[in-house]
Amino acid sequence: MGPPNGQRSSSATGKGRADTGGLNEASFRLMVDGVVDYAILMLDLDGNVATWNAGAQQIKGYLSDEIIGRHYSVFCTDEDIAAGRPEDALRIAESAGRFEDDAWRVRKNGTQFWANVVITPMRDKQGRLVGYGKVTRDLGERGAAVLMLDVDGRVATWNAGAARFKGYRSEEIIGQDFSVFYPPEDIAAGKPRHELTLAANDGHFEDAGWRVRKDGTQFWANVVITALRDRQGQLFGYRSSTADLTERRATELRLQASQALVTGVLAAATEFSIIGTDLEGVITVFNSGAERMLGYSASEMIGLNTPALILDADEVAARGAELQLASAFDILVHEARRGRADTREWTYVCKTGTRIRVSLVVTAMRDEDEALVGYIAIARDVTQSAMAEAERAALARVARAVAAAEDVDDVLSLVTREVGEMHHFEAAAIVRFDDGLDGTVVGAWSRSGRLAPGQKLSLDDDSASALVRTTGSVAGFRRYCADSPEILRSFGRESHLIEFEAAAPIVIGGRTWGALTIAASIDRTLSWAPEEGLVRFAAFVSFAITNAEQRRALQRGRDELRSIIDELPASVWVCDPAGDLLLANQTFNEMALDSLLAEHALDGATLSPSRIEETLVDVSGRERTLVVARSPLRDHTGEIYAICGVATDITERRAIERAKDEFVSVVSHELRTPLSAIRGALALLADERDLDSASQRRMIEIALSSSERLSNLINDILDLQRIESGLELCDLQSCDAAALVSDAAEAMESLGSEHGVSIETEAMPFGVRADPRLVAQVLVNLIGNAIKFSPVGGRVTVGAKRVGDEVRFFVRDEGQGIPADKLELVFERFLQLDSSDSRIASGTGLGLAICRQIADRHEGRIWAESEGGHGSCFLFALPLLSDDTDPANPSATATSVVVCGDPMARNEIRRLLESSGLMILEAATLADAVTVEEPTLLAILVDLESIDRESKALATGIARPTGAVPLIVMSTAKRPETLDSADEWVAKPATSDGLLAALGTVNPLADTGVLIVEDDDSLASVLVERLAREGFAAMHARSGSEAIAMATWSHPSVLVLDVALPAGDGYEVVEVLRTRNVAPRATVIYAAAELAREAQARLRLGPTEFFTKSRTAPEQFNDHLIGLLDGLRSRAVAAAPVTLGSER
């Protein structure tokens, strides 16, 4: 096909024109590249391809890099090449400025197509030819019908192509108007004429439209009508080229439909994020679903090559490590690139930072030649299910921890961690609502690590927790700019951009106890509302706290029960049916009652509760009587799983009962005796009518005296009972000892004179705290006794003197005295020394027992002294009424004596007082002795026979020459009846014991200190030191003899006594001290071994306690001792009854 002759045209198809002036190169290139309907290429001067566009690629099938540089003749048919047409075309284009032709062209795959080709020369600004622009249009594979029309539009020429196209033979159509090719509606519209007119006007007309074949069928045609003019420009006809593009038209329509479908799908798939990329990852498609899901707009994203922007960096890195790839894009398309379907879960990061879990399908896009052209990534939001799954897993872990009853703090911290990490929150906390508006963080987790349990919060802000507090229901809200409340600040945000916060109430016992709260820096509610989950976790928190509280309450209950049963005096235990101990209280262990368990083997006796009395021997070898109650414990099936036992020690009760029985028996005997006499006498009087008058009188006398005795007896028994039981109140008041003495003496005056006994008093006025009525009763009783036992003409002396810090009342008689072994017994009830003595028989046998009771009630002491055959003296000691009396003032320890006499006498005394613990000072004369200034001075001892005359005169004078210091005189002379200047008189040759006793009598500080008798020096020094620290004076004796000596002169208030000692053991010490009337206010035995009852009885000296070194550590013992001393000290003022504890 040759080029049309003389083609000159201002045709609108000159879009390949190289006139690019005004347009920049890039824009032009972009425009050309975007054209796909035309192959637009540039040829160099030799006709080689220089540029290539997408249309060229599409039409001709070559990729740009395989065609650029090759001669454009590869597009021409072999015949055209052989005819030199490619070169001709260039030449014509250069000379004519344009070459246009319709001809067959060849694609890369060898197929031919009918093409319309326009070649235009391209020149630079200087007009030099630089190359050619070539525009090729694909007119289909069927070629074209080319014919000529005359000026009027009649067909002038016809060829084979036209015949094939349109079905007319040449003779049929020549001369026919060309409008026969048009459909009737076009003809009616005048389209054929109009087109010719346009072609005539413009030189060229191109149209695509339906045309009609001879057989009436229509085809889609591309029609180009060119006006033909002669040299004068006179129109002489038209050239019409018609290409059948029906097939292409169909294809195009299909394509259009499919493109519309794709576009529609992309737009409609709002629930899916669809992102398409080219081979390099540049985003080409970003659908509305992607916009919605990720928050970016398509215009922002298209053209970008940044898949990393929307992916979680950690996930990408992890997958990259798996695949050994670094580029995010490569990682993402790895599978798709290999033609494999790839569906996996990823986390998309939205523009706002929100993380979304997606199921992502990445597919490769290929063209019809299976060439890879790009990728498409379709993502579905699976956050809901991922979150739900994460929440389920976290809940399960929390549930396990709660069920395992782990420490509640651990559970709370676990909950916050799980809740916080589960949804990538910044922080999670459990806040307890306190009083007012306060809250306390009790469980916390935060990314910053800044939130910690124990933190105090103020909930008066607009935080979610505060909202929960007010409303009691779950709360959640976003805040984009707020003054962060304390809790949010502590979440570790420097700025105040806490955007989301939610809290769920923790309800315990129907009350909103607190809140489980979370804070996130981003809005997570986009795809997930965490409030629902929070409510579930809050339920577990409330469960865990309630559980913990119940466990604590249970434990408290157990502890309480435990301490209660431990404190019980009864032994309590629980053992299994086999007799193995499950639980035992302290008393059980102390009493070592394991022998009772053996009987627990399940037998008939244990099936029902039992209560029996058992006797067994305890650890210390004493026989104990126990009431043992056993009862079976049954489980819900009624089976016995344990036996509970309670054993009460009734040994003491039994002893008391026995003593009471004995007393009742004795009392009954004592009452029956006078009653018998009364009844006997009266019966005799009644029965014997012939009784002489003397006998009658005698019987009446007997009845009378017996009834008097009976009534006295009853009175005394009642008295004793009243005082003993505390019914008789001891009304302590300040009284004058001297007045009490003279009143009592006066009251007994007449009885005395009846018996021919005189009563004398020697009393100094001292204040005492006492019940005057009871003291009078004691004195009257004692005086009565003294009168009874005095010989006619005898003398009874009643008095009161001060010894140390007490007042001692005394009643001395000149009777036959009391044997030493009976001195203590006389205070027992109904003790009759010798009933042949009518004086004894006349008493009730209760008087002294009553006196002792009264003394006890006064915290006083009563005892008897007697020098066999030389009368006896009853002493009754009461604490001196004195404000400054401190029974335990260490500075008041009197530990030294001044010895006054010639050197030999002084040496002798020193020897006698050896090992007494006393410091001995010496003076030659009494005058010298008086000047000794020694605060601890106890007494001055004067050897009367070895001092100078002047001293002797002083020592035997009327007044005490030693001031406040007591004076003891030692002399060969008989003790004068009254001691004036001296406080004590010791007969020579003096004995060690005599001297110590005298010192004890005069010791102004008797009954104040503590004497510790202990051969273990280190233990003793610990005790002494501790006591000194507490303000108690303590002395230490290392041996039995030392203890006796020291106790004799010091009269300790409390005696602490070890049993095993060198030079006389504890028993000996107690025995000797008893005979010397050294009666401490308390004695504490601290023995190495447990003592039998008999041994304990032998060691009793005043109120006595027993401790065992193996069971009571020195510290405990010390504590107890101090407690005891404190008690005694306070009682010295309060006069409360002495009660002693016992060893536990």
């Binding site: 009954s668 005997h669 018998s676 006997g680 005799l684 019987m699 009518s838 028989a841």
Partner: protein, 140 residues
């Protein structure tokens, strides 16, 4: 069987020789009443005020019957009774315990110790005389 001479006399020709009763009691009043009652009933009496004296008097005087208190100094009535029963010279002398000990158990102990009869104080003096007479009769 060697019948007590005193009793034989009493039975055969009464009152030939009154029976001799030893009274042992530490309570002077009671002693006096018992003695007076027994004398009025025609018995000869000897009274002592404690257990020891009672035992020796019984051994020395060999009385026809002993009225014995229980609770006394030096020697109790029980001890005296046992001693008397162990001594062939006195083992057959009837003993009437006259005591304030009134429990059944006391009674048993009294009889165990050798008492012939037992009377609880306070007592009726006439009953005592009746019991004394009965005991003397039985002893024959």
């Amino acid at each position: 069987m060697n019948t007590h001479p005193a009793m034989q006399r009493q039975q055969q020709q009464e009152p030939v020789m009154p029976a001799q009763i030893l009274v042992v009691d530490d309570d002077a009043n009671l002693r006096e009443i018992v003695v007076l009652k027994l004398q009025l009933a025609g018995f000869e009496t000897h009274a002592v005020n404690d257990g020891e004296a009672g035992l020796s008097a019984a051994q020395v005087r060999a009385p026809d019957l002993i009225v014995l208190d229980w609770m006394m100094p030096k020697m109790t009535g029980l001890e005296v009774s046992r001693a008397l029963r162990e001594d062939t010279r006195t083992s057959e002398i009837p003993i009437i315990m006259l005591t304030a000990k009134a429990q059944v158990d006391d009674l048993r102990r009294g009889f165990d110790a050798g008492a012939t009869d037992y009377m609880v104080k306070p007592f009726n003096p006439s009953e005592l005389v009746a019991r004394v007479s009965a005991a003397l009769t039985r002893a024959v």
